[in-house]
């Protein structure tokens, strides 16, 4: 059992590195400290979404019972998305839970997460605040997601309006990330955000 897991991980890394398919070009997968149970993945944000141009890092923990049980995957990059916790990076995706199948690989898992960014499931949310914004104010949601992609994932699209609002809170002595979270969860209303922070 132990051997299957280690052997498979080595094969899977080789497959991602030598991948001959177009979408594989955007995938990265590597071991942390030469330990097959601990990996880092990276993929590019899907085009025509607020995540376009960003590079999203994943923490992948492989159980000893892999591939009979799914790997544990979470975002290391902060992401604004209904199915990803904006705090912990936890991902709500069925194939990482009860819909896991032994023939799935880390490559297919990363591709699934990539397409999850393109097609959110707001009715099965991981982050309720984000999901509410997604449903009630989709334009503001898209702008916030683009802003987070720009700041945390190195995306090229600046949202100057939001940058300025974050600056205002930083000038009030609030830590940058805290300020951004407060503004994002309060629909970028500075008054509501400060109230939220100081209450």
């Amino acid at each position: 059992m132990f051997n299957i897991a280690a052997k498979r991980i080595i094969k899977e890394i080789k497959e991602v590195i030598n991948g001959d398919q177009v979408e594989d070009a955007a995938l990265k997968l590597e071991l942390v400290n030469d330990n097959w149970m601990d990996l880092r993945g990276e993929f590019k944000g899907p085009p025509d979404t607020p995540y376009e141009g960003g590079a999203f890092k994943l923490e992948i923990k492989v159980p000893e019972t892999y591939p009979f049980n799914p790997p544990k995957v979470r975002f290391m990059t902060n992401v604004w998305h209904p199915n990803v916790s904006s705090v912990t990076g936890a991902i709500c995706l069925d194939i990482l839970k009860d819909q896991w199948a032994a023939a799935l690989t880390l490559r297919t898992v990363m591709l699934s997460i990539q397409s999850l960014l393109a097609a959110a499931e707001p009715n099965d949310p991981q982050d309720a605040v984000v999901a509410t914004q997604y449903k009630e104010n989709p334009e503001l949601f898209a702008k916030t997601a683009k802003h987070w992609t720009n700041i945390y994932a190195g995306g090229p699209n600046h949202v100057w309006e939001f940058n300025r609002k974050v600056e205002v809170l930083i000038d009030m002595g609030i830590e940058e990330h805290k300020a951004r979270v407060a503004l994002s969860t309060n629909d970028w209303d500075i008054e509501k955000a400060t109230e939220h922070l100081f209450s």
Binding site: I4, P67, A101
Partner: protein, 176 residues
């Protein structure tokens, strides 16, 4: 068509010619969908997916309540997979009949001589047997035959035979 294959050949790592790549693809065709290695004790599901039997067995054991094909999630079960026997496989033994994990077959590990011979001693209700034969009150068995009759001789003879049988049995128990 030609262009795409050329592009592929140029992106492939140096040292692998076109034939090698073809071989590699053929090999991948026969890989188990679970361990991604060449399938051993290969079985194929009704939906056409290839696995090592030990791998598939473990998958079915991992979630007994939801037995689905690891590739396409079609229903799958132990009885509905087909073992594959290649030409090199001379034994043609159904992998499902092989033990996939070691089991402890001898339930009573005390006495076993080589393969297949098991022996055990039962004590049963030994002490109570003594009581039942000793305290036989109100016994209405017929009394012994009077001395000198043919029946008396016969009984004496039988009891001697039984005595010798008992002695032989005890000797066999001790020395065998």
């Amino acid at each position: 068509m030609a262009e795409t294959s050329e592009a592929k050949a140029s992106t492939s790592p140096p040292g692998g010619d076109a034939g090698g790549e073809e071989d590699k693809r053929d090999e991948r065709m026969l890989e188990c969908n679970i361990c991604l290695d060449t399938a051993r004790d290969a079985v194929v599901s009704m939906c056409g997916h290839l696995f090592c039997w030990p791998c598939l067995h473990q998958w079915l054991e991992t979630r007994p309540s939801r037995q689905v094909c690891p590739v396409c999630k079609a229903a799958i079960s132990r009885d509905k997979v087909i073992p594959l026997y290649g030409r090199g496989n001379t034994k043609q033994e159904d992998p499902r009949n092989k033990r996939t994990e070691p089991e402890n077959t001898s339930a009573f590990p005390g006495f076993s001589f080589g393969d297949g011979f098991h022996m055990s001693f039962g004590i049963g209700a030994f002490p109570f047997g003594v009581f039942t034969s000793t305290f036989n009150f109100g016994d209405s068995r017929p009394s012994a035959a009077p001395r000198g009759t043919a029946q008396y001789d016969e009984e004496q003879f039988l009891s001697k035979i039984f005595l010798w049988v008992a002695i032989l049995f005890v000797l066999w128990l001790v020395f065998a």
